[in-house]
Amino acid sequence: MTSHCKILFSGPVGAGKSTAIRTLSDTRPVVTEARATDETRERKRLTTVAMDYGVLRLDDGTQVHLYGTPGQERFDFMWEILQDGALGLVILIDNAAAEPIEHLRAFIDAYRPLIDATALAVGVTRTDISPEPHIDVYWKALDEAGVSAPVFTVDARRRADLVLLLEALLFSLDPGVRV
């Protein structure tokens, strides 16, 4: 019998969640996209409305499911559904957004029980478009929230960046793990 576990990717619209899952997944990801009708359409034509799904297959048959949540707050009921049983949480934040630190705070609040029970890793994307706020500001926000988590500047298209972020998440769960 194969076993399963999952890692959750969350964050605001346009932060790169769908891209990250596409970059990491062993299979073609399942996406639930619809044409954007609200302010999101100014940023992209299609947006995730339920979830993105990908999978990593381990050599013993275990499947690690990668779930991406919709970014818009009006779909926040999906956040609760998807976080159940997650191994850990990756929050991606678009540094070029108007208020990225507010986004980080909001998502920490939304996932506080999961973060307290498991671990969090934060990926800051699009720093090539907007180098500010600097990563120090994210650290400060995490400190204020009483959360210790790795914060890396990442490109969601680069597998190496995402692997490092996931490694940090997984070792945060247990640094004693030997590979």
């Binding site: 275990t62 120090d136 680069r158 490694e167 004693g176």
Partner: protein, 421 residues
């Protein structure tokens, strides 16, 4: 020659400087142009990538990911033994005859694969695996060769507005780690990036495989004095830049860097190998202020100051601890460094995870995690240089320590799977 003369092999070059490109163009327009064509990425069968550029790991990873059926010829002064077998390393300076032989071999193997596919059985090919070994290039091979493509050593310009001082004149007591730390990271360096051009840097530093490191540890023991290495020079330059309000150039051996007066501003004007070699040696630096704006004309790649200082400290440390640091005193990592943008050492993520969860002594970290002392010391030195390490009695807040997850096998397999793919 084993290759089929009728086969034209497309060769594409990525991440190389203009000098190497011109030399390759001359090579491919020479006598071998019937068999090899210098082409664009799409039409290529083989890629040549300069492994000495500071962002090469990202470039190489991306390239191998995009072209799973291609072989890459990597050019390097000092080959990295962590590379995949799909990378054939040729040591710089590169000789045209060696490059021709390597390409001949690749052409022969390509021809053999085509024949194998057509006939259903492998034909014998000179130089193919299982036959006589090729002396020119095998995966991870190193060859002493004569120069064709010389390394691009950046020119050192004459001082303009000189505030030249040896590193040892730095206005800090080398024995005072607190003041040293304060000097290294002025407050104004905490916020803004000058540019993002260097943000993709993430080479992997195999400190414990380095013969240089072993030699240095043998000579100096477990500690090193940052002020006798490039690390001290970079810190002194940052201090001068802040005080003068002007960019400051620091030259240390073959390494040349510019530290800007603004928050986080820095640039590097040499390749990673030159930086690594320079940092590994003791020496004296030339430090001078530059007129505002001159930095842009130096062919510099912008990096964040703290990322540069991390790398310089890592290379200066070479598995040793900064003087004044006791391995039996508990330290804690206040925050995770941005490991996606600095040079990594093996187990950096484990070390960061463990050290952010509580204060541990350096000796304890190595023993508990089963990581060699040199890697622990290198990580500590880099993190301490960028002011991320605090002694327990300097603690800034408390971190919770997690219990073992009970899912170690799963986590181990998952991390292994991520790394292997």
């Amino acid at each position: 020659m084993a290759g089929d003369e009728s086969v034209t092999v497309g060769v594409h070059a990525a991440g190389i400087d203009d000098g190497i490109r011109r030399a390759l163009e001359a090579f491919f327009s020479g006598p071998c142009r019937e068999r090899f064509a210098f082409t664009d990425e799409k039409a290529a069968d083989v890629a040549i990538i300069d492994l000495d550029i500071r962002r090469y790991h990202g470039l190489l990873d991306d390239y191998l990911e995009r072209h799973r059926d291609r072989v890459v010829i990597g050019l390097a002064f000092e080959p990295d033994d962590s590379l995949t077998d799909r990378v054939m390393v040729m040591r710089k300076p590169l000789r045209s005859e060696d490059l021709r032989k390597t390409l001949d071999r690749l052409a022969a193997e390509r021809c053999a694969r085509a024949a194998e596919a057509a006939l259903g059985e492998p034909p014998a090919v000179d130089g193919a695996p299982g036959t006589a070994p090729d002396p020119v290039a095998t995966p991870r091979a190193e060859q002493p060769v004569a120069p064709l493509l010389e390394p691009a050593v950046p020119p050192v310009t004459e001082p303009v507005a000189v505030v030249e001082e040896p590193v040892r004149k730095a206005s800090v007591d080398p024995g005072d780690r607190r003041s040293h730390r304060g000097r290294r990271r002025p407050d104004h360096l905490a916020d803004v990036a000058m540019s993002v051009a260097g943000r993709a840097d993430r080479p992997l530093f195999r400190a414990h495989h380095s013969a240089q490191r072993r030699a240095a540890v043998g000579a100096d023991g477990r500690w090193y004095d940052p002020d006798q290495h490039a690390q001290g020079a970079v810190v002194a330059a940052a201090d001068l830049a802040r005080r003068s309000g002007q960019p400051v150039e620091v030259v240390f051996g073959a390494a040349r860097m510019v530290i800007g007066p603004g928050p986080g501003e820095a640039a590097i004007c040499c390749n990673d190998t030159q930086l690594r070699i320079a940092c590994s040696q003791k020496g004296r630096a030339t430090i001078r202020t530059l007129p505002t704006g001159e930095r842009s004309g130096l062919g510099a790649v912008d990096v964040r100051y703290e990322h540069l200082l991390w790398d310089v400290a890592l290379y200066s440390s070479m598995g040793r601890l900064p003087t004044g640091v006791a391995p039996d005193v508990p330290y804690r990592l206040t925050r995770w460094p941005d490991l996606a943008r600095v040079t990594l050492i093996p187990d950096a993520t484990r070390l960061a995870a463990y050290w952010t969860q509580g204060a541990r002594t350096i000796d304890e970290v190595g023993q508990v995690l089963g990581i060699d002392d040199a890697s622990v010391a290198s990580f500590f030195s880099a993190a301490e240089a960028v002011d991320l390490m605090v002694r327990e009695d300097e603690g800034r807040g408390h971190r919770r320590s997690r219990q073992p997850s009970g899912r170690r096998r799963l986590l181990s397999r998952l991390i292994g799977r991520l790394r292997a793919a």
